[in-house]
Amino acid sequence: MRFDLNEDQSTYATFLEQMLAAPDTGFQPVEGWGRYDYGTALDAQLDENGFFDAAREEELGSVTAALMVYEAAQVPVCIECAASALIRPFLGRDVSRPLAVVVDDAPGAIRYLPQAKGLVSITATGVRYADLPEGAVQPVESLYAYPMGTVDRDALDWTALDVDTGDLRTLWQVAVAAELAGVLKAGMDAVIDHVRERRQFGQPLGAFQGVQHRLATAAVEIEGARLQMLKAAQSRSAQDAAAALGYVQGVATRITYDLHQFMGAMGLTLEHPLHRWSYRAKLLRADLGGSSASYLAYATERWGAA
């Protein structure tokens, strides 16, 4: 058991941190007050420097890939990282990125579809892949801080992939858990900055114990989520992944509520970045059926069917 990074992982993490801190990854309002800002430059930089391939490298592995998803989720711009870092290396063939993923034929719009070059479908019966031809995707307006889109799925040219669908589902659960833990962490950090500065009743908001306890609880839960997610990234066991995802989805609802409460009205403006994280969290916490579905899967893994 070891919680620190090995040398390769440390180097990777240091470079990643530098790229994520580039000025154009910061918060800036989008024309027309759009809800998200796609980090095109950051995406290209990470891609060119091979960051999305961590999982393929023995010294880095899927834990490092999961860590990357967690870190990348914390910048106010969004980039398609989860599928590229944790699904793409395991498809058994080369596919372009950005990549979008749909599980169990969930209806409606899919995140990152407008940017995506290909779509992966994971169902109980198998994993399929389809390129997304130019013009096939319809961007969709959304409350969520993601680019969302739809595509006529029946019209795509699907290829069945020779991979273990259970393993891919597990990896995707880890990826979603990593991204969700990351956006919660970033939202919490932004709110902590705010309650440190903002004074009411002659003291910083962060000096009220009622505020402290709820933020402290969030910190404990996010750390618990992060560690479970990393463990699952290594074990790639269905049980670990279900626990990690169910847990972070379960705490996300309350944490998101608290973060907005402590920001007050400021948190509702598009001039403050909190929504860039909270409105990613709101979608991720319902992904793959949400917390209860993950927990049901966990129970089956651990104690057998009902």
Binding site: T150, Q209, L268, T269
Partner: protein
């Protein structure tokens, strides 16, 4: 104890429902999806409130001398509940009806009453509430907008923020300091400021709840006559306490929540996804949260109807209402996440947009929790 409605109350509710079914236009859902604070709905209220007035359904609880029918508090409450259930077609005019009108009746000069009350009674007045400032949110008494007396005028300088309806309002119910440098509650006075007075600038704040819902309002050397002051200098805090007591229960949001829950469940049933026991039990939990809020709110109304002194029940009720709204919107987000993208299920989306402000807009839920702890649980105050 009796948890049933009287025949009169039930008939009154039915009458309002009939009226709404008859008078709300075919495109009402499209207007309502922008939310009660939107410019769309505020404009609509100028069409709709005169109809309510003509039907005797705008200000039935006001005294007869101001055009009302002195109807009892329960009727007034049922009216509000049905309006909110329908998405609040009165827009911001609900404030006039609930508290601005009654406050002017009690504290206004004859001139102010004659100028402002009749247009409210006719359903033609849009007001905004200039309380919060960048530095004064939960701690309202720390507001710094200043009104300085110069002869027969006051000159106002300062800034308000988060002001709803300011883009279309004709008058602002403004709080400002007139006292010494120490500020605080005792220095606050109220002014009824025409929004077209030179020196007032309104800027819409882009927000998660839509564009044109909340604003910044800047006051630069705004000169208004002394006659615009409501009550005396230093009387502002007393007056808003009276106003807020009129608003004791706040908005019956559980009513919208409960209606929204029904439509979410209908959608899940349509999709064949309402057989899952987790989903069913979460829907029931949200429904129960709405009922828990509803009954706590009803207890407050009952107190008012019986003329009891206001207690801390309203603090409990407000917290319960926030929890109810939260439970409903979380249910929707968890089980119909695709309902928040694209043009389908827009009512769900607008419900969510309303729900996210519930714990903040009318004063933070945490402030209510502080009051519950201190006044209801009698817990001691910290050092």
């Amino acid at each position: 104890m009796d948890f049933t409605w009287t025949e009169d109350d039930a008939a009154y509710r039915a009458r309002i429902k009939d009226f709404l079914a008859r008078e709300l236009p075919a495109n009402w859902d499209e207007i309502a999806r922008h939310g009660p604070g939107s410019p769309e709905q505020t404009e609509f209220s100028l069409e709709f409130c005169p109809k309510l007035a003509a039907e005797g359904l705008l200000i039935p609880h006001w005294p007869e001398e101001w055009g009302g029918a002195a109807r009892p508090p329960w009727e007034h409450f049922i009216l509000g509940e049905e309006m909110w259930r329908a998405g609040e077609p009165r827009g911001g005019q609900y404030m006039n009806v609930n508290w601005i009108g009654p406050v002017l009746m009690k504290y206004g000069s004859a001139e102010q009453q004659a100028q402002y009350i009749p247009p409210m009674a006719e359903g033609k007045a849009i007001w905004c509430q200039g309380f919060s400032e960048p530095g004064a949110g939960s701690d309202l008494a720390s507001l710094r907008t200043r009104a300085v007396r110069e002869g027969d005028d006051y000159v106002i300088n300062g800034q308000k923020i988060w002001t709803s309806y300011a883009g279309l309002a004709s008058t602002c119910f403004l709080l400002a300091q007139t006292g010494g440098a120490e500020g605080g509650r005792s220095g606050i006075a109220i002014f009824l400021v025409p929004m077209d007075t030179p020196g007032i600038e309104v800027r819409a704040i882009p927000s998660l709840i839509g564009h044109g819902d909340i604003h910044e309002v800047f006051f630069t050397d705004v000169r208004i006559p002394v006659s615009t002051r409501l009550g005396e200098e230093g009387e502002g805090w007393t007056i808003i306490s009276y106003a807020l007591a009129n608003e004791r229960v706040g908005i019956p949001r559980y009513e919208m929540g409960s209606a929204e829950l029904d439509s979410m469940v209908a959608e899940l049933q349509r999709r064949g996804q309402f057989s899952d026991s987790v989903v069913r039990s979460r829907a029931a939990a949200a429904a129960a949260a709405c009922e828990a809020a509803r009954l706590q709110v009803y207890r407050v109304v009952d107190g008012r109807a019986r003329g009891a002194a206001p207690g801390n029940e309203s603090n409990l009720a407000r917290v319960a209402v926030v929890a109810a709204e939260q439970a409903v919107t979380d249910f929707g987000m968890d089980f119909l996440p695709d309902g928040f993208s694209g043009s389908d299920h827009m009512s769900m989306l607008s419900h969510h947009e309303r729900a996210i402000v519930t714990g903040i807009a009318a004063g933070a839920a945490e402030i209510q929790l502080n009051l519950v702890a201190r006044r209801h649980l009698n817990l001691p105050k910290g050092a």
